[in-house]
Amino acid sequence: MSEEKKQPKVVVSSTPSCPWCSRVKSYLRQRGVRFKEIDVSRDRAAARDMVRRSGQMGVPVLLIGSRPIVGFNKSLIDRLLGLK
């Protein structure tokens, strides 16, 4: 991340028991990406919203800007966030 202000808004929808979710979050932290975290196991409304936006009943789902990414798709995440 060269310029902090350039980073699009990142939201991670996850569940506490999901191994992929914790790895995607630690990856983002490691790369210095700021993100908002939603625990969809606790927040039913957010879970419904995630399913509606991504068409997916599976986690993790990342929202980079308005673009939903299902699963830990590292190359796509890197590309959308301009990470090298």
Partner: protein
């Protein structure tokens, strides 16, 4: 880059091999196509792995194994998928999507992934009600009726996890009996909100946007029944991650790597450990044992027998 040992796969077998190889002061690289942890990391709670009387989450245990391998010097590269393995003049060349490596010995620990059902609706509704990871997606099915297909250890364990969230679980098992450990079966005796359909075959998964029902057939009576469910969790066994090994080492008819008791494959210097081996029992504890065997065998091989 040249190494003494290259390990392919970062599950329990690969990480254990890494621990032993590094402690033998061999220059060790572990290549993982995804993130380390493997299938075992998706298990909610491992209760049969010795040393943890109260159980341990798969994620925790595998994270510890990774740290342990790294502590002794195993170099781990994640998101490096191996494309080709080629024995070449006493060395073995490995090609990944990103580059080329070479080693004196290779340990294959690429593991397995959940088998699909191959029924109509499965692909269409994948991520829309069909899941292979209850620990990931289970919490999204709060107060819903779901089905678990397969009554082996994984099916019953994950079904038990799902019951924390869902309204009911219907278990569908192709065989006339459950294959899970008895202790797991006992937990479902007199348990509310569960139903067991043994000797039943799942025929079809129906729905609109997401799953709304499944159709099962009684294999004895031939009768079909439609059950309204919002989720289908599939635990019907494993298939090997061995596409990159065709024409490299001998595979069995299902694609698992054939080895002898010393984890040697058909090619000298290439060993295999864990779920990828052709064998009967696939447990974290056996993977760990085989990772140990393979690393020690590889060390001996490098030293010239």
């Amino acid at each position: 880059m040249n190494y003494d040992i290259i390990i392919i796969g970062g599950g329990p077998a690969g990480l254990t091999a890494g621990i032993y190889a590094s402690r033998a002061r061999l220059k060790t690289l572990l290549l993982e196509k995804n993130i380390t942890g493997g299938l075992a990391a998706t298990t909610d709670k491992l209760e049969n792995y010795p040393g943890f009387p109260d159980g341990i989450s798969g994620m925790d245990l595998l994270e510890r194994m990774r740290k342990q391998a790294e502590r002794f010097g195993t170099e781990i590269k994640e998101f490096e998928e191996v494309r080709d393995v080629k024995p070449l003049n006493k060395r073995i060349e490995i090609t990944t999507v990103q580059g080329k490596y070479s080693a004196l010995s290779v340990i294959i620990a690429s593991g397995s992934e959940p088998k699909k059902l191959n029924v109509p609706g499965e692909e269409k509704f994948r991520g829309r009600g069909v899941s292979y990871c209850a620990t990931c997606d289970g919490p999204l099915f709060g107060e819903k009726d779901v089905a678990v297909v397969g009554c082996g250890n994984s099916g019953l364990q994950e079904g038990e996890f799902l019951l924390k969230f869902v309204k009911s679980v219907t278990f569908v098992e192709f065989l006339p009996r459950m294959t899970a450990e008895k202790i797991l079966q006992e937990r479902f005796q007199n348990r509310k909100n569960t139903r067991f359909l043994l000797n039943h075959k799942l025929i079809r998964i129906n729905g609109g946007e997401t799953v709304s029902s499944i159709v099962v057939r009684d294999r004895e009576k031939g009768k079909e029944e439609e059950l309204p469910v919002s989720g289908v969790f599939v635990y019907v066994g494993f298939k090997p991650n061995s596409d990159f090994l065709k024409d490299v080492v001998k595979l069995d008819t299902s694609g698992f790597v054939v080895t002898n008791g010393k984890t040697e494959t058909s090619i000298p210097g290439i060993f295999a450990a864990g779920d990828i081996r052709s064998k009967d029992v696939r447990q974290v504890s056996t993977a760990v044992g085989e990772g140990t065997l393979a690393a020690i065998a590889a060390e001996k091989y490098i030293q010239g027998g």
